[in-house]
Amino acid sequence: MRTLLFLIQKEFLQIFRNKVLLRLMLVLPVVQLIVLVNAATLDMKDNCVIIVDQDGTSMSQGLISKFNASPFFRVLDITPELEPAMKRFRGERIDAILVIPHRMEKDYHRSGSSSVQLLTNAINSTRAQLTYSYTQALVNDYNGQIGIAQSSVTGSPVRVNASWRYWFNPELNYKYYMLPGILVILVTIIGMFMAAINLVREKEMGTLEQINVTPVRRSQFITAKLVPFWMIGMFELALGLIIGKLLYHIPFEGSLVVLFLFAGVYLVAMLALGLLISTSVQTQQQVLFMSYFFLLIFIMMSGLFTPVENMPDWGQAFNRINPLYYFIETMRRVLLKGSGFADILPLLAGVGAIALVALPLAIYSYKKTN
């Protein structure tokens, strides 16, 4: 026990002596959270749209004014002809063309319904889908308006409209969705990379040779490498949450105790994986490349950008051994939904199992003799 304390004390001495590293640990999360959270947003504004108004009636004018008033759309041009619009669609960066066909108003009055056509640029499929949804919403809204106007004249029955509400993130604030995920990545990179590089550095410098010939036990050595970076990871998480609260007013619906408890287990798992990599390679270059390889897979599959439920079965199965998946899910659930300890218990068990496998493996794969 005393030996372990001395080893940890040595690690902290070295970390605090590395002024560049210290500054990075403070500045990096702030910058990343400011830049990434604002940049990685799916909120859409100013979708460029051209409206082809072949109808030219008061009804089409009314629909056009809806688009003009919407912050999501920027109406670039209104033209009666389809051809020039299509030409611009092919050549310029235009998100959509709305075609209001000839006789729209007439059809509506005659049969009670009519349609418009939407052509969207689907190079970015997410953007195309959102453009479609926004258009749908606008047209529905307009439908309601003229419906009411009609019913007051003719006395026909009022139509039933479905309305909806988004729970847990009522304004569909994309930052609330992204910030917990980015924070997870931040905590992971700082913890895992620093611990892994630190151990391999001892190999490269030759200091490990000197340690290996001392009575220091393998478990003590690995634990001493894990503890300081575990503490730094927890500190980074706290720092990130404070920034999230101050800058983005992210809600803390659930208990922070539960969140930090989970983070504690998560960091053990992730640091153990990092140390496992570093015990099995020889140079800092190798450890960087290996960690980067695994981290990239973990991040892309974690559900940070795309919902895990949409992934193929093997992808969802893979996420059972993806610590990032568990942590991002927990962060979102606890922060936004207010999930308690009982709710995240299955997730905690998953990440706990990874920790229980990875840590002994890291200790075992560190060999004092060769």
Binding site: K10, M205, T207, Q210, T214, P215, V216
Partner: protein, 300 residues
């Protein structure tokens, strides 16, 4: 007492240490002398428990480094060939750290290192990375000694260290020997062999001979001459062509010449050199050094 029996280490097809057997007495200053690649480091790493032998075994006062590594690691001090203390920790922090991982304190064993550490104590708040080569070496020795080891293993401690520091270092080793510590030291420098109690001459993983430095030079019986000349290359060529030559090779600033004949004199050699038309600044009969013996043993 240390016994090494038929110790062998193979790396794939390469045999780094080949069936080495020898005995080192307790309290001895024992040297492993040989060129780079002779297998010195591998041998020492098998003794200090860092490397598992392919076959054969080592006994350190009855303890086997393979099975009793836990006890072995508490009783040896090891100084690897490459400086391997923490460069970003200060002199004092390094010393304290190594004392603490061995479960002791600097104060407890200060008397052991006082002589050595006093040279660098002035710089105890300086980072190890900022020390000069000689000071680094003194710090490394202090750290290897701080837990009062029974056996001190030094792998090429003087490689890359200036001549004055080398002298000081060997002086320290002699003093340490008096406090009863057994010392194994490897070096590629033949002149350092004379400072050991006994030495093992090593080449290509084999031990050629184990003896005291005097015993080793006594094994050299042929007459040996040192020739001082500015035309070393021509002299070497001519002497190699002489019918009586046993061996001739550059040695420092001179050439060492060994003759077949027992009764040969300085005059005989001077006469031959003048026949060949080679000017020289003197031919002297000299006592053989360890290197001369080594050169002879190397050729089998």
């Amino acid at each position: 007492m240390i016994t090494i029996h038929q110790l062998t280490k193979q790396f794939g097809p390469v045999t780094a240490v080949d069936r080495v057997s020898l005995t080192v007495n307790g309290g001895e200053l024992f040297g492993f002398i040989g060129p780079d690649g002779a297998g010195k480091t591998t041998l020492l790493r098998m003794v200090n428990s860092l490397m598992l032998p392919t076959s054969g075994e080592v006994s350190l006062w009855g303890l086997n480094p393979v099975t009793d590594y836990k006890q072995v690691r508490t009783m040896i001090g090891y100084m690897p060939g490459k400086f391997s203390l923490y460069l970003d920790l200060t002199v004092e922090e390094n010393l304290q750290f190594f004392a603490s991982v061995f479960g002791t304190t600097v104060a407890e064993n200060y008397h052991l290192i006082a002589d050595i550490y006093s040279h660098i104590e002035l710089f105890k708040h300086r980072k190890a990375g900022q020390l000069s080569g000689g000071m680094k070496q003194k710090l490394a020795l202090s750290c290897a000694l701080i837990h009062k080891p029974r056996l001190l293993i030094l792998d090429e401690p003087t490689t890359g260290v200036d001549a004055v520091s080398r002298g000081e270092f060997w002086e320290m080793l002699r003093k340490l020997k008096h406090s009863g510590i057994t010392i194994l030291v490897s070096t590629p420098y033949m002149d350092e062999a004379a400072l050991c109690d006994r030495v093992a001459l090593m080449q290509n993983g084999n031990v050629l001979q184990v003896d005291t430095p005097i015993g080793i030079t006594q094994g050299f019986t042929r007459p040996l001459f040192a020739i001082r000349t500015q035309h070393r290359h021509e002299a070497l060529q001519s002497l190699r062509g002489w019918e009586y030559v046993h061996k001739v090779y550059p040695y420092g600033e001179t050439l060492h010449y060994i003759d077949h004949r027992q009764g040969v004199t300085v005059d005989d050699i001077e006469a031959y050199l003048s026949v060949c038309g080679i000017a020289h600044q003197g031919v002297q009969r000299v006592a053989p050094g360890i290197e001369d013996r080594f050169m002879e043993l190397m050729d089998g």
